[in-house]
Symmetry: C2
Subunit: 350 residues, 2 copies
DNA sequence: TCCAATATTGACAACCTTGTCAAAAATCGC
DNA sequence: GCGATTTTTGACAAGGTTGTCAATATTGGA
């Protein structure tokens, strides 16, 4: 009755024998293929259930030439941004019977075409993923897209991308979000608004900046180039931007940092200098990552549904796999949310 | 000369043909098996190189009954702790030709044996990993260990564990580290030292606490029960502990928070209350996670080499796989480091 | 120099699934 | 009711690798 060894899991053959059919029929039932009598279907299902049959992953992928793997390609695994997206991706994969693996690729965007190809071939060939998720800064890289296309691996990109109509894309409307941020600050009465850029190789930096500029103009304000500071999406660069503002003759009354870490760095610099946020400066971040509520005062920011982006990316990718083969171009935009907390206030009119 | 299609990657057969040997010989060379002439070895290697041969993962695992997968089982993917370990794990896997996958298991420690078994069977059977990395709070769970052992899946645990001599274990010496922290505070002249516990289901909480108690006694100090606060390894619980201390009649002059997030929360509570760290209170954290240098003042803490722990766990696990089959019990202790920064100072003697 | 022992090599099966194609059964039209 | 069509089913091969075992080449000893 019971199994003799917990080691030996049932094969298709065993299910077939128990159900009194051929293994091919079992295969058909388990893959929901047509052309099987309802009666046999039930029988097979019962047998499979009884034997706790689980298909062999390796046999399947060997024969079917699919790996049931989705590969997440990113530069800096370990960052909150990447991890949140990954989190959603893992969940979605788990649901769909896929597995999410992670490839760390170093400075791919600096490399020549042939080296990129080599890098991918090494990592991808071993266990060729059925699809790849490209995160910033690689999502926007043409060469990488080309190599992957050449290798015939379907791709979904996450985050803003220049290359429009280039397959699947999942993102939020960074442009619109930036506009909302500026509008909020302008509504509070701020005129002198600074901006901290993110990494220059990430498209989000440019999109948010152009939203910033457009909204400034719409509000009848001018963008002071001196108040636009470089950054790298990390605490340190926000801190440095803060120090710059503190030493600058005409300080901004508000700053839009293009992510939360930089906003936190900026606040740290001001606080350390004995100034108060939002009394002495209003600050808005971007992402609503954990630091936004682990700092004081709580950070006003834009919530980006990172894990949803990851989950959606996986789902769209997997859905596209069973499609006709032609990867249709699709752009999915998830909702962001302006989160008003405590780092913004009307300008200090002395 | 060049390949006709980038699609068709070379198989063992192709390498064998080019080298003028049988595929079995190719297999032997590529797996570093003995009994092949040096001359043929070279020939085969050259042929493989030329054809850019990469072994088929699925064929290998089908035949060899191995998946080349290491599964990381954790509760809360997304936490810095988990992500750092994972990061090291991914790197090590990449080097070794393995792949790291992640399983999110919810509240496994609350479940009955049979449900745990069911949970693992669902996730593990599909693509049975060659080994599993167990992180807190699951590393210390007997039931989980038993289920995995029953399934015949080798395990490596990361972090402090009660179950000694139960297979592979990679950790730092939490006990000793806690002692060093207390010694530092005692040396500064602190007498009234508080402690913030972490999650009660994590062994680290208890080990660090007992190190704390022992070192207190060794320094001739008494542990004031009222100053030992509960926590959950997150910012919020540290913040709450801070609020408690602030409202308490005899405030501690120093606090050892059992991780950085809680230390940061504590500092936030004090700062918000208009007090200064370390003037009004000395604080030490644990982990040296990113928040330690993203807060002001910089946090004195204990560096735990998380990504090294992850990498080492993978390496030991993989090494043990090719062993005799008997998983030997081994305990690997990596070095921690006391990191002196700016949140500790002699007590404020008014 | 020849036989025994050893080292090297290769043919073939096996791993478990799915695709192909043909056989068998059921259905339909007249 | 019978042949033609459609539906259902199964036998067999294939996918790329590694283990088994037999065949062959090499070495050593007498």
């Amino acid at each position: 009755m019971t199994q003799t060894k917990s080691e030996n899991s049932a094969k298709m053959k065993d299910v077939a024998d128990l159900a009194g059919v051929s293994i091919k029929t079992v295969s058909r039932v388990l893959n929901n293929e047509p052309h099987v009598q309802e009666k046999l279907r039930r029988k097979v299902r019962e047998a499979a259930e009884k034997l706790e049959y689980v298909p062999s992953h390796s046999a399947r992928s060997l024969r079917g030439n699919r790996s049931y793997d989705i590969n997440l390609v990113c530069h800096n695994a370990g960052s909150v941004y990447v991890n949140s997206i990954q989190f959603g991706g893992v969940i979605a994969c788990q649901e769909l019977g896929y597995q999410l693996s992670i490839s760390l690729m170093e400075d791919l965007d600096q490399m020549a075409m042939r080296d990129i190809r080599a890098a991918f071939e090494t990592v991808m060939k071993r266990r060729r993923p059925d699809g790849v998720i490209l995160l910033a800064p690689y999502a926007n890289d043409e060469k990488i897209g080309f190599v992957l296309q050449e290798m015939g691996i379907p791709v979904v990109r996450v985050g803003p991308v220049e290359l429009q109509n280039k397959g699947l894309l999942v993102e939020i409307d960074d442009y619109q979000a930036a506009i909302e941020v500026v509008r909020h600050l302008a509504d509070l009465g701020h005129k002198n608004i600074g901006f901290i850029r993110g990494s220059e190789n990430q498209r989000a930096t440019h999109v948010r900046y152009s939203g910033f500029c457009v909204a400034m103009e719409a509000a009848g304000l001018t963008v002071e180039d001196a108040l636009v500071r470089p950054g790298a999406f990390d605490f340190q660069s926000g801190y440095e931007a803060g120090q710059f503002y503190l030493g600058h003759t005409s300080r901004p009354s508000a700053v839009f940092a293009s992510n939360d870490d930089m906003a936190a760095g900026l606040v740290a610099a001001y606080t350390e200098h004995g100034l108060k946020v939002p009394k002495d400066i209003s600050v808005v971040g971007f992402d609503d990552s954990s630091i936004a509520t682990c700092m004081r005062p709580y950070l006003t920011t834009v919530r980006q549904p990172l894990s949803d982006l990851g989950a959606r990316a996986v789902r769209e990718l997997v859905a596209s796999l069973s499609g006709t083969g032609k990867p249709e171009a699709r752009r999915i935009v998830l909702d962001h949310e302006f989160v008003l907390r405590d780092t913004t206030a009307p300008p200090n009119t002395k």
